[in-house]
Amino acid sequence: MIPIYAQEHDYSKYNVLAVDDIPLNLLLVQKMLTRFKFRIRTAGGGQQALDAVAAEKPDLILLDLMMPGIDGFEVIRRLRADPATAHIRIVILSALNSNEDIVKGFNVGADDFIMKPIIMEKLLTCVVTQMQLVKK
């Protein structure tokens, strides 16, 4: 289920930030990523996400789009606009599934797009791929 090359890799030094306004979704993502032993932090909204990034820069952000206040698109825009945070890998996890939303997500600077309901293999593959691209 998990790519062979990823199986023996130590991911503990990677720092992941999951952002979603629905707690259950955050719980689900956490549980799905358990076996990678990432350091996973969570944020319940756009503003909290920006605060968390400011506190400590993550290697990867798993970001929901539809959130009250600052939405996912805006979070990406702001992070990409700041050179200090522009390099952070961002994967969108969203229930929005129209082509426009997907294109818009990539346009503002997302690295990948995963549709809800989340298929676990897809999420893991995507996360591993993104981690490969992060030089550590």
Partner: protein, 653 residues
């Protein structure tokens, strides 16, 4: 005698141009100057040049009247060049008639019909002056006939004037009077402006001359003439007659005053060519010098008659006799003409009467037709105005209707657009709403399906609970959507039976309780003791209350949710109320929240259909669901009010 006629007719022609004022012809000033020059030279050398200058000027100033006058001049000039009382050749007559026809055709084209008849007049004079009385009468008859044929009052008037002149010149005063009376009648009855412009003063003067000198009628008619005098020439004519009359009556002072007035005026020659000679004769008689009196009856028989009368009045009987004798001889010589003229008079008279009758009948007919036409026009106009008014009113009404419809359509369009936007929002929202529980179900199921050892038994239990919960949530969501759809299709029934308040409320609470957020409590607190049943659809009531409670749970993060039931809040109704301690509903949203797909907060789960469904069901049961806007203690208070006495029929669709 012929000379007399010439003079009379010349005077008549001059009367057309009357007055010594500047430009009495009302033509262009420059044209008038040339016209005067050419008039002076009529029958003399240099006329051709002067008349050509007039024509050039007339063309230059585009003056049709001046152009007509040019042709008048040409005819007059040719006639004037032939000495009077001579026999004319056929060539001369032909040339005169040629010029007459040219003038007539021009006058017809330019519309100055006075010159049309003036052409007749000139030619008639020409024949008369050249001893062709028959031809003269023929011309008069021709003119009369033409006037009758054309029903032209001016032509008739002119014809009558000639007849008057002819008869007076022949001393046939009886016929002259008849023609004068006829001419007066035409004048008084005429609507023709050309006729109305003519002077009747002259007719009365002529009439005075037809009565025996010394009779009262002479003075009466001269007085009439004075009253009807319009222009300077009229006044002069009256003075001329008054002078003669005064001399006859022996009023020497008056005579001399009038005589001097007449002699001073150069236009006197237009009244009478022999006026100066006549005054000299009268002076000689009055001063007792009868041997100096010149007898020349041909000049003017009327004057000769007058002078004879004056001589008689002054006791010079011999002179008077001599003069009257010469007059008689003159009259006899013209007897043949008189006979001829009598015949023609009868002809003309017949035609005249026929025309008069015709004209009268025609005018009566015309008046009748005019009245009818006026009536018809008035009627038509009234009809038209009415139709227009109605049409305008209709237009205005339909415009109002259109405007109203436009407003209605705009409103409808706005509603449709809003509904459409709401629907679009709903679909997007539903996608999110459905995917959220689905995400949990799919996600946790995947975790459960991982090989043993991945998660502890407790964790697996937790995952299962999440799956079950979210499945329920998804089911409810689907129920909402299906309910709405069912209601839209009309497949929706209310089944009436007895519903007990406490039972329905507690069942609703037990169904909604699990949605309470941590730290929030829910209770039932009726406003009355004991059980209360009423005729309703208990399942629908529970459905609405559960919906209201669920909404309260979603929005209440602390405090409590109270369900109550009252029989007094709305008399005649059972009122269920759900009061929460959540953020409440802004007053301006009190109604909007009942619209389909409208959600106060997009991030609170739900379809936005719940309240809309509640309201629909309540209204089917004859009740209502509303936000209690008087509730101001923080949070929201929704009320379901249902009639205690529900309709008898079991089923309502």
């Amino acid at each position: 005698m012929r000379k007399v006629l010439i003079i009379t007719l010349f005077a008549l022609s001059a009367a057309l141009g009357l007055a010594a004022q500047n430009n009495p012809y009302a033509i262009d000033d420059e044209c008038y100057r040339y016209f005067q020059e050419s008039e002076m030279l009529v029958g003399k050398d240099g006329f051709e040049e002067a008349s050509e200058a007039l024509m050039r000027s007339a063309i230059l100033h585009n003056d049709p009247k001046a152009q007509t006058l040019y042709y008048v001049g040409r005819l007059k000039d040719y006639i004037r060049r032939i000495p009077v009382n001579t026999l004319t050749t056929q060539e001369q007559d032909a040339e005169v008639e040629k010029r007459q026809k040219t003038l007539m055709s021009i006058a017809k084209k330019t519309g100055y019909k006075q010159y049309y008849y003036y052409a007749y007049e000139l030619v008639q004079n020409y024949y008369y002056n050249h001893l062709k009385p028959v031809r003269t009468l023929e011309i008069v008859q021709q003119m009369q006939a033409e006037a009758i044929e054309n029903k032209d009052e001016y032509g008739l008037w002119m014809g009558n004037r000639y007849m008057v002149a002819l008869y007076i010149s022949q001393n046939d005063y009886i016929n002259a009077q008849k023609w004068i009376a006829e001419a007066l009648r035409i004048y008084e009855d005429s609507q023709d402006p050309t006729v109305r412009r003519q002077s009747v003063c002259r007719l009365y003067c002529d009439l005075a001359d037809t009565y025996p000198v010394g009779s009262d009628s002479v003075r009466i008619n001269i007085n009439r003439a004075i009253r009807r005098s319009q222009v300077h020439l009229d006044t002069l004519r009256c003075r001329y007659h008054l002078a003669k009359l005064s001399a006859y009556e022996g009023k020497i002072d008056d005579y001399e005053r009038y005589r001097n007035y007449c002699l001073k005026d150069p236009l006197i020659s237009q009244i009478s060519r022999s006026a100066i000679e006549m005054f000299e004769n009268i002076d000689n008689i009055l001063k007792g010098r009868p041997d100096l009196v010149v007898l020349n009856p041909i000049e003017n028989p009327r004057e000769v008659k007058m002078v004879a009368a004056i001589a008689e009045a002054n006791g010079q009987v011999d002179l008077a006799l001599k003069m009257q004798k010469s007059l008689v001889g003159f009259t006899e010589s013209s007897l043949s003409i008189s006979n001829k003229s009598k015949l023609s008079e009868i002809d003309a008279r017949l035609g005249n009467n026929a025309l008069s009758a015709d004209l009268q009948e025609k005018s009566t007919k015309l008046a009748r037709v005019t009245r009818l036409v006026m009536f018809l026009i008035t009627f038509l106009l009234l009809g038209l105005v009415t139709i227009l008014t109605l049409h305008i009113r209709n237009l205005r009404r339909s415009k109002q209707r259109d405007e109203q419809r436009i407003v209605e359509l705009k409103e409808a369009n706005e509603r449709v657009m809003m509904a459409d936007a709401a629907k679009t929002r709903f679909v997007q929202n539903m996608s999110h709403e459905v995917r959220t529980p689905l995400n949990a179900i799919v996600g946790f199921s995947q975790l459960l399906s991982l090989p043993d050892g991945s998660f502890s038994a407790e964790e697996k239990d937790e995952f299962s609970a999440h799956i079950i919960n979210n499945t329920k949530m998804l089911t409810m969501l689907l129920d909402d959507i299906l309910n709405t759809s069912a209601m839209d299709n009309g497949n929706y029934s209310i089944v009436y039976e007895q519903g007990e308040c406490r039972y329905m409320c507690e069942a609703a609470i037990s169904s909604a309780e699990h949605r309470l957020q941590p730290g929030v409590s829910m209770r039932y607190e009726p406003a009355f003791e004991g059980p209360f049943s009423f005729r309703t659809d208990p399942r629908r009531v529970q459905q609405i209350i559960i919906n209201l409670l669920t909404n309260a749970c979603k929005h209440t993060t602390e405090g409590e949710i109270v369900l109550s039931c009252s029989l007094e809040e709305n008399p005649g109704e059972v009122s269920f109320s759900v009061t929460d301690t959540g953020p409440g509903v802004p007053a301006e949203q009190a109604e909007a929240i009942f619209d389909r797909f409208t959600k106060l907060n997009d991030f609170v789960q739900g379809t936005g259909l719940g309240l809309s469904i509640c309201r629909d069901i309540a209204s089917k049961m004859g009740g209502r669901v509303y936000l209690d806007t008087t509730y101001k203690r923080g949070g929201a208070r929704f009320v379901l009010a249902l009639p205690i006495d529900a309709p008898v029929d079991n089923k309502t669709n």
